[in-house]
Each structure stands twice: as C-alpha cells, then as structure tokens.
Subunit: 141 residues, 2 copies
C-alpha cells in the first residue's frame, strides 16, 4: 500500500558546541520558546507547529541514548548549516532593527526577483540563519 | 520595537554530495515534490507548508551566488544531519512497509514513553531521517 504524502517537517536540526551561547541567542534574540534542555547535549525549541533542535555534535554523533530499549540513532555535523524562519514580509524591518539592537551583524539582505526579502545573519556557532516570508516559495502565509 | 514571535521554520536543510541519488530517494521513496533543481548544486522540495533544501556542500560552503547584487551567504556541513518528518501515527506502519519494499533499512523503531512512535532510517548521504507524529512533542496534528 502506498503511503500518503508526508505532511511536513517536524524537526529541524542545527549543531552548536557551545549550547550556553546558543540558548542565550535563540531565546533572547530570536525569541524562541525553550521546550527541553539537557546541558551540554541539546536544546529543543518550539517554533510554530514544529521543533528546532540544537545538538552538541560531540555528544550526539555517536549513538548513545536508548528509549524503551531501542537506540536513538546518532547524527552530528561540522560546519555551518542553514535554517530559514517564517516571518511576515511586513515584519522584516522590525526584525532588522531588533537584530542590530542585539549586536547581530546583518550579513546580507536580499530582495528576491519574484517579491519578498530575506535577512541573513549568523548564530554564535556560525550557522547561517535567514528571516523571510513564505511568499518567496509561493507558499501562502 | 519588539518583533512578534517567529511563525515557524520555512527552510530545513540537509547536505548530500551525490544529488542524483538524493533526488531518486526523496522523490521515489519519500514521495516529496521536487520544486527546483540545479544539477550538482541543490534540490529544493516542497514539504507541507515549508521547504526541504538539499545542497551539495562542496558548491555552497563558500558564498558564490548573488541576487539583485546581494550575496547569498555560504553554508555547508559534513557528517550526518537529522530531519524528522510529520506523519500521522496511524500511517507509520504503512510507511514501515513502504520503506522495506524500497530496500531502506529501518535503523531503529522507538516507542516514546509519552505515546507515539518513530521510524529511523538513513538517506543515501547517511543523514538520519525519522518519521513520527507531532504528538510526541505535544503538538496537535
């Protein structure tokens, strides 16, 4: 039997070795809601109808945890990843000012040919973050 | 002025050096809808109200593209990342059979203490993928 289409992405991951710095950044600057925390291993944030998981790759690269007897497979990357967050186009300028107030360097600002714009900046682990509106992908807000 | 909360994650990224293999896997096995493709650089998939972007990190690690004169910042990781996809709990078993039919090895099956279950397997680039229901995060389907 063929399964139905996947409904969406539930967990998006980034990696950071310094989770204390990441926690400050994601809660205070990006205003995400901290859902679960395991010091030095992970920070789990609620973000809309999904989760942003930030792992210390030194702790998760090799499988280590078991749940009800089953292993939770290992993963972990090195180098800068990328996540874009969904922000209404009308709020991009407010975010731009907010980021600057919080000493975040705006690395680039892109105006897309099809409409909409993006702000690019880095988290403390050098991951590339973007704030943009779903219209750039022709997705309705 | 303080901005409103971010509405969600719009772009989730994984990295794969062999994009041809990734395309076959994500379209035929995971049944994602291919939205845009640049051979040897990226595959962009629509997934619900968001996008799954798969990049060849050898091509995106160093900034290279410009849009309307502005740089699109570089990113790219090495090592296995992780993404969980949103599937209703009632469809997990159908997916399990579908994956096995497509010669995908189920690396682990977890039953969560709070309810719900997860299937774990790898994409051709060794990224850790998971199919699970949003209930495991107390998110309504």
């Amino acid at each position: 039997m063929e399964p139905n289409r996947i409904r969406g992405v539930l967990e998006t991951c980034l990696y950071a070795q310094d989770l204390a710095k990441a926690e400050t950044f994601y809660t205070q600057v990006l205003k995400l809601e901290l859902f679960l925390k395991s010091p030095d291993r992970h920070l789990f944030f609620r973000c809309g109808d999904a989760m942003l998981l930030i792992f210390n790759p030194d702790r998760t690269r090799h499988q280590q945890s078991r749940v009800n007897g089953s292993p939770v497979p290992g993963h972990g990357t090195a180098g800068p990843g990328h996540v874009a967050f969904n922000v209404p186009e009308a709020e991009i300028q407010t975010w731009r000012e907010w980021l600057i107030q919080h000493d975040v360097t705006i690395e680039s600002e892109v105006t897309w040919p099809s409409g909409g714009s993006s702000l690019y900046f880095r988290d403390p682990a050098n991951n590339s973050l973007e704030l943009t509106s779903p219209g750039i992908w022709k997705i309705e807000a």
